[in-house]
């Protein structure tokens, strides 16, 4: 039986009837057209689907849309404000923290939580904090540089 859910996504409230088995990533991409979060491994390994739910980075491929009922979701689309990139986005841009870009939305969403909790992370803390995100281009060095630069810019 379909369930009615109300979710605030990037600051805007949405209400839909969804099947309980609909995954959050599919709700975001297919119902709302928010294709920033990517479907990567679909097994909660790669982190390309990472979004923030109530401020916490989670893998939206291993979460049902009904679990987001009543919660606040932020996707990569919700970061830039008034045409200005979020500081983490800006740092990824400047440090070339991406190659093909597939992992980037997830990397940025996870980096954002990392920096919110720890504004001056060490390199080891950055690498540890990004353990749930894979880059298939293996562009990790630039990604770590980008997080360092974002931390620096936030000071």
């Amino acid at each position: 039986m379909k369930q009615t859910i109300t979710v605030t996504i990037n600051g805007k409230a949405y209400s839909h009837e969804v099947e309980p088995r609909l995954l959050l990533i599919h709700y975001l991409r297919e119902v709302l057209g928010l294709t920033g979060p990517h479907v990567g491994c679909e097994t909660s390994i790669c982190g390309a689907c990472t979004v923030a739910v109530d401020g916490r980075a989670v893998k939206s491929c291993t979460m049902f849309a009904v679990q987001a009922d009543g919660r606040q979701v932020v996707t990569i689309e919700g970061l830039a404000a008034d045409g200005a990139l979020h500081p983490v986005q800006q740092a990824f841009w400047e440090q070339h923290g991406l190659q093909c870009g597939f992992c980037t939305p997830g990397m940025i969403m996870t980096s954002r939580q990392l920096l919110e909790r720890n504004p001056s992370p060490t390199e080891a803390e950055i690498r540890h904090g990004l353990e749930g995100n894979l880059c298939r281009c293996t562009g990790y060095q630039h990604i770590v540089n980008a997080v360092k630069a974002a931390a620096q810019a936030g000071k």
């Binding site: 039986m1 088995r21 982190g47 979460m63 679990q67 690498r127 353990e131």
Partner: protein
């Protein structure tokens, strides 16, 4: 994934009324990090999911006279970040921080860590928990490098996937299981079991029961967890040891050493406990205790290397608990 009915209770009473007498009737949905994976792979297709994340009384971590009370739906991140836990139970905080990755710690729950199903690749491939179609063990005859090295004499060869179980057993925790006909308390070391028949589970929880709370007594122990991993990210450890020591000066008055990821259940290494009692904890003693802990190991064709890894885990956990570097 098969369709299912979704229930969203707000009280424990309501939740347990929605559970069934068989596993395929209903499943508890907390973080869902394990359950959803099983359902995607058609390994498990319950007819109803009972979401417990909107039941307030199941959340939170607090201390009272009896000890530390951890709500079953508290997240692993809450446990890892709790100053109360870090101060009194470093072994538990270390085990929680070992659960990879940040996203999983945000979503996964303490109860979920204890109730998650094994990672055995034959089980995850739909070959059953004992992976013995037609009575022939795929594990002993196949790829077993991550399987059990202890307690594997019966048909169960998988390893318990729980990261928190060993620490909770070493600390003498008690779990509360609630059903519609009442509640019962189960010691953490009785919660995990080694199944002997296909269809039975690796935990004592019944299909109509909900794990509600974990109580860890303030035991005044020195405790630590050490994990040996293949890589830091995205995986379960290869072998872990959680230890809790009651000390009298520099002498161990009693010890509990529990190994993780080496047996179908967290493995109480009682030989190590006996060996350590009455001894002053030096590096040599820790090394001998580690040997004692693994003295009954029966590795399979590909996993003898885990015996040494588990010894290292025991030695380093003991040295960490004693406040020394391992």
């Amino acid at each position: 994934m098969q369709p299912f009915e979704y229930a969203n209770p707000t009280t424990v009473k309501e939740a347990v009324g929605l559970l069934g007498n068989k596993w395929d009737e209903a499943a508890v949905l907390a973080g869902g990090t394990d359950l959803i994976s099983l359902m995607k792979d058609y390994v498990y297709s319950p007819k109803r999911l009972v979401n417990i994340k909107n039941i307030k009384e199941l959340g939170g971590i607090r201390a009272d006279k009896a000890g530390l009370r951890i709500g079953a739906a508290a997240t692993i991140d809450e446990l890892a970040e709790s100053p109360l836990v870090a101060k009194n139970f470093p072994s538990l905080a270390q085990a929680a921080r070992g659960v990879t990755s940040p996203q999983i710690r945000n979503m996964g729950t303490v109860g979920g860590d204890l109730c998650q199903r094994p990672r055995c690749w034959y089980y995850r491939d739909g070959q059953g928990l004992l992976a013995s179609p037609g009575g022939r063990s795929l594990v002993t005859n196949g790829e077993n490098k991550y399987h059990a090295i202890l307690g594997n004499g019966g048909p169960a060869k998988f390893v318990s996937a729980s990261s928190l179980g060993p620490a909770l057993i070493a600390l003498g925790a008690t779990l509360t299981l609630q059903s519609s006909s009442g509640s019962r308390k189960v010691a953490a070391d009785k919660f995990f079991v080694t199944p002997s028949a296909e269809g039975s589970r690796e935990i004592a929880l019944l299909p109509n029961e909900l794990l509600t709370e974990i109580l860890v007594p303030m035991g005044g122990t020195k405790n630590a967890t050490y994990e040996v991993r293949q890589k830091e990210a995205l995986d379960w450890p290869l072998a872990t040891a959680s230890v809790a020591l009651k000390m009298s000066g520099s002498t161990v008055s009693s010890a509990r050493v529990v190994l993780g990821h080496v047996a179908p259940m967290p493995w109480a290494a009682t030989q190590a406990d006996q060996f350590l009692a009455g001894k002053s904890l030096t590096e040599a003693v820790a090394e001998d205790a580690a040997k004692a802990a693994l003295s009954n190991a029966t590795p399979l064709s590909q996993n003898a290397y885990k015996v040494q890894l588990a010894r290292v885990a025991v030695k380093r956990a003991l040295m960490a608990a004693a406040g020394a570097r391992g």
